[in-house]
């Protein structure tokens, strides 16, 4: 009895294999004969052996053998039909290309900006935005650039009137938010900014920035470092080298610039097109919110502290994708843009 069951199972498996290899009528007939031939068919044999079983065992075994026989017959019929259909009579080259769907591609800057946003959103930051045409007050004065201060020269400005300008950074949004929201504040502010720059491979009169701001009691420089390190390691990779060095921005004190180690030359190539040979790439400006900025938004700098940072989306994307000319972003050549479908 056990022997019989084992063979039923064995034939079931073997049949599956045999039928899957059938490619024409001849081989189909061979399979049919192997299992169902009246004289030598495997299933025919099994049915014959039924007789040798005891009356108790007989009905169960008979049922199983008949099931197998039916399955085989159905399969043989199905395959026979297939072999007669045009699909098999006129053979089709299945290695011909499949149908593609034309999908639109995101612009690399938007894509990269979203990548940056997503990292901060996961860290609990909210997204805020502000106007692109700004007043001198929000763009400069509230950020501790006194009128006539030479620091303003570092932010080459396009003016609409004496008081109205195209914002040179997304930092004015800091002021707009702090004016209406009490700490704790944890926000990023992405957007378009403008500078009076003649276009060349690394400068454009319009580009994109993401600004960040964290304000609360007890926020310190170590927190600034911790946040930006997590950010940069997530955006690039865990092993990236990060350097904080002192710098100057009117709206932060102490101020810092954050460089990452050149991934192209590792600082080895004096002619490196990415880092210019010094091994580091400037990625972020940052610092502790200047006490004067807090005073300008009626927040007590003794009670609250905070840090702010900003990075150029275009510049960082150039570095990340090793794009050598920033103008590529705004030519909107689809051969350029559509590569980012795969990103």
């Amino acid at each position: 009895m056990n022997d019989l069951n084992k063979r039923i199972e064995e034939y079931t498996k073997k049949f599956k294999k045999d039928i899957s290899e059938v490619r024409d009528k001849k081989s189909l007939q061979e399979v049919r004969n192997t299992y169902l031939s009246r004289k030598k068919g495997l299933v025919t044999h099994l049915l014959r052996e039924l007789k040798t079983l005891s009356p108790e065992e007989k009905p169960e075994a008979g049922k199983r053998i008949n099931e197998l026989k039916e399955t085989i017959q159905e399969e043989l019929q199905r395959v026979e039909q297939n072999l007669e259909s045009p699909r098999f009579t006129e053979r089709i080259d299945l290695t011909l290309p499949g149908k593609k769907r034309y999908l639109g591609s995101p612009h690399p800057i938007t894509l990269f900006q979203q990548e940056i946003e997503d990292i901060f959103v996961r860290m609990g930051f909210s997204i805020e935005t502000g106007p692109e045409v700004e007043t001198d007050y929000y763009n400069f004065e509230a950020l501790n650039f006194p009128p006539h201060h030479p620091a303003r020269d570092d932010w080459d400005t396009l003016y609409v009137t004496d008081d109205l300008l195209l914002r040179t950074h997304t930092s004015p949004v800091q002021i707009r938010i702090l004016e209406k929201k009490k700490p704790p504040v944890r926000i990023i502010m992405p957007g378009k900014v403008f500078r009076k720059e003649t276009p060349d491979p690394t400068h454009l009169p319009m580009f994109f920035q993401v600004e960040g701001l964290v304000v609360d009691e007890g926020i310190n420089f170590a927190h600034l470092k911790g946040t930006l390190e997590v950010f940069l390691k997530t955006l690039f990779h865990e092993k990236i080298r990060i350097r904080f060095r002192p710098s100057f921005f009117p709206f932060t004190e102490p101020s810092a610039e954050v460089d990452i180690g050149c991934t192209l030359c590792q600082g080895e190539d004096k002619q490196c097109r990415l880092c210019g040979g010094n091994g580091w790439i400037e990625i972020l400006g940052a610092g502790m919110v200047d006490p004067q900025v807090f005073k300008n938004v009626n927040t007590d700098p003794e009670k609250y502290s905070g840090f702010a940072f900003g990075l150029g989306v275009d510049r960082t994307a150039m570095f990340a994708y090793q794009i050598s000319d920033m103008r590529n972003f705004f030519e909107n050549d689809l051969r350029f843009i559509r590569q980012f479908l795969q990103k």
Binding site: H149, P150, P291
Partner: protein, 682 residues
């Protein structure tokens, strides 16, 4: 700022490799952009900051580096060979505007032999990238680039009336500069004048009429402190920027003019001149040093770590700060005049931090507490919109916000464009009032580069004046032209058309649940009359779509049909979309009825749709136009329309008779209202 390493060694002793030197400077915030090793020197190109005029000379850089390396500045002697007379015997100096010139010093050197500089001086001058001129000019340059304090040399013989007057310019006065350029002076500018005429634009540039020449014998050296804002305004107005104006504008050291004068005099007297006795020093209101209180606990609080007291005190001392008073908790720090950037406690904390080393501050992820999670509806909608557009094969582009009047005028947007006062070029002299211009540029760019079809969109602001206020409006523009890729061997190539564009618009409007939306065939300035639809939501016009006008396309050398749309996302997002609602799926079979009609061609489908919707047929789940035919088998003014109606009842199977009744109502309405004829078999 070019820095010579040899020159630094005049002030401090150090012996480190170039790469270590660069690292040290970078770590304290003096960024070395580039460097160059010559045979006997190393030249560093240093990035300096607007608030640190003290680092615009080798002395200041040496002081910083010394603090970083643990070395004190070496004092330097400036011996004089003195003449018999006093400076004040030889010239009468008067300052009539103390606000613009709070301090003015001068000294006369007699019998200077103008000629080539000694080789050590030539080397220094060349090291910072200047050309040696003569000993007097080279000495003044040497003093500026050593101390960051500008000094100016006048030919005393050319000063009329032995009089130096520091005064505001008079209207109509003109100064011919050393560069032979005539500057029209005005009363807000400060000048140095003799009894008759201006001889220099104070703190900016000398006049040709008092300049040093080969014949010069006696020299008057000016060493002053000028008001930074006044210098900046004059510099901007005249467009003349010099090494002197650059430093005065950022703030010179008001305590330093006498020393700079003596240093200059000493150097010139070593080259054959004799210095008159005593520097004249006009400083009517001497200033007091600022003092700032630095509290130990604030350092820890702001940096997130403790720093040892002895380190703090040592660094402050090396940087030239003087601790006047201290308690276990705080220091009272006197700020030297050369540190114009230090006003507050935070400024001193930065000094401590930068010499302690930013790299030694730990990295700590801040505690995330108590911040309301913000959710930006607008951004979420923009993203959904973008996804729909990608799905329909539109690629995202980003164009500059700049435009030109001749471009804007063609779109007749009815918006007053914002002009830029100081544009980078006339082609970018104003801000765009439409997005379509950029899109058309993108189309021709890609067509010229072999693209068979171009399907693009941009989301961005337009800008305009409205009632004397500036405005920004978020818009979406999209356009499609040419072939719809991808080509496939099993299908014939397909060209884009208006309904591809419209389908896309309908899809995202529906995806964002801005329903019901309405299209009306009305004119739009960008689109050909008769090929132009306006889109309405909740009664407001949101934008238009259609065939971009041929006369507009011509400007871009675009001959083919461009189907475009431009919508105001601002208007749309200000309105509420429909709330999302789920409807249970009926477990009972739905009934489908297909009906074909002959209809007049000039009946708008929109009207048919509205009429059918108004009927309120019970259990009519939806209806759609599944075929439209015009051609030889039907009259020329007619179209055959095939409509499919789907009826579903949520709780039971619909009876054929009741659906027949609904169908009759539909047919009746379409017949009577629009004159439809039922087609056989329909």
């Amino acid at each position: 700022m070019r820095i010579s390493v040899n020159w630094l060694k005049d002030y401090i002793d150090f012996n480190v490799s170039t790469s270590e030197l660069i690292d040290r400077l970078n770590n304290i915030g003096l960024l070395v952009d580039e460097w160059e090793e010559t045979e006997e020197d190393v030249i560093l190109e240093l990035e300096t900051y607007a608030n640190r005029p003290d680092t615009l000379g080798h002395l200041g850089v040496a002081r910083e580096l010394g603090a970083g390396l643990g070395a004190y500045l070496r004092p330097k002697e400036w011996p004089l060979i003195e003449a018999d007379e006093k400076t004040s015997d030889l010239v009468d100096i008067q300052v009539s505007d103390e606000t613009l010139c709070p301090r003015y010093c001068g000294i006369i050197i007699k019998g200077v032999k103008v000629g080539p500089s000694p080789s050590w001086l030539k080397k220094r001058v060349k090291a910072i990238g200047l050309r040696p001129v003569n000993n007097v000019v080279d000495v003044t340059n040497y003093v500026v680039f050593s101390t960051a304090h500008p000094v100016h040399a006048f030919d005393l013989a050319k000063i009329s009336g032995e009089k130096i007057m520091v005064r505001r310019a008079k209207k109509g006065e003109v100064l011919k500069t050393l560069e032979e350029e005539d500057i029209a002076l005005s009363p807000e500018m400060l000048v140095i004048a003799d009894s008759q005429k201006p001889v220099a634009l104070a703190g900016i540039i000398g006049g040709e009429n008092s300049s040093i020449t080969e014949e010069t014998q006696d020299v008057f050296i000016e060493s002053a402190y000028f008001d930074p804002v006044s210098i900046r305004k004059t510099r901007k107005k005249t467009g003349i920027q010099t090494d002197a104006s650059y430093r005065f504008e950022r703030g010179a050291d008001i305590s330093f003019p006498p020393q700079a004068a003596l240093m200059t005099a000493s150097l010139l007297s070593q080259m054959g001149g004799e210095a008159a006795q005593q520097v004249v020093d006009i400083y009517p209101k001497p200033r007091k040093n600022k003092t700032v209180v630095l509290r130990n606990h604030r350092i820890s609080k702001l940096l997130g770590m403790d720093i040892r007291r002895d380190f703090i005190e040592r660094i402050l001392a090396k940087l030239g700060f003087h601790i006047e008073n201290k308690s276990p908790e705080s220091w009272q720090v006197k700020i030297p005049f050369f540190r114009v950037d230090i006003d507050r406690e935070a400024d001193l904390i930065e000094e401590v931090a930068r010499f302690y080393g930013y790299d030694k501050v730990p990295s700590v992820f801040p505690p995330l507490k108590d911040v309301e999670p913000g959710f930006d509806q607008k951004r979420a909608r923009i993203n959904e919109l973008r996804q729909s557009l990608f799905h329909y094969g539109f690629n995202e582009v980003l164009n500059f916000s700049f435009s030109a009047p001749e471009k804007e005028v063609k779109f007749h947007t009815g918006r007053a464009a914002i002009e830029i006062k100081n544009p980078i070029s006339s082609k970018a002299s104003l801000l765009r009032t439409n997005l379509m211009d950029g899109i058309l540029e993108n189309i021709i760019w890609n067509r010229n580069r072999g693209a068979g079809g171009v399907h693009v969109f941009e989301i961005g602001n337009i800008y305009f004046w409205k009632n004397e206020k500036y405005g920004e409006e978020l818009r979406l523009a999209l356009a499609t032209t040419g072939m719809i890729e991808e080509t496939h061997w099993a299908e014939s190539p397909q060209e884009t058309d208006f309904f591809h564009l419209k389908g896309t618009v309908e899809a995202f409007m529906s995806k964002l649940r801005y329903e019901p939306f309405i299209f009306k065939e009305e004119n739009h300035p960008y689109f050909e009359p008769g090929f132009s639809l306006l889109l309405y939501y909740k009664g407001e016009m949101i934008g238009g779509l259609g065939l971009v006008r041929k006369d507009i396309c011509k400007n871009y050398f675009l001959d083919e049909d461009v189907w475009g749309a431009e919508l105001s996302l601002k208007s749309l997002f200000e309105k509420q979309p429909q709330p999302f609602r789920y409807t249970p799926v009926s477990r009972f079979p739905c009934v489908r009825r297909d009906i074909s009609f002959l209809a007049d061609k000039d009946i708008y489908f929109q009207e048919i749709k509205e009429a059918l919707e108004k009927l309120n047929i019970p259990y009519l789940d939806r209806f759609e136009l599944y075929d439209r035919y015009t051609g030889s088998s039907i009259p020329q003014d007619k179209a055959s329309l095939s409509l499919r109606f789907i009826f579903c009842h949520p709780r039971r199977t619909l009876q054929a008779e009741e659906v027949d009744r609904f169908q009759q109502r539909i047919i009746h309405t379409l017949k009577t209202k629009f004159g439809f004829q039922l087609r056989e078999g329909g």
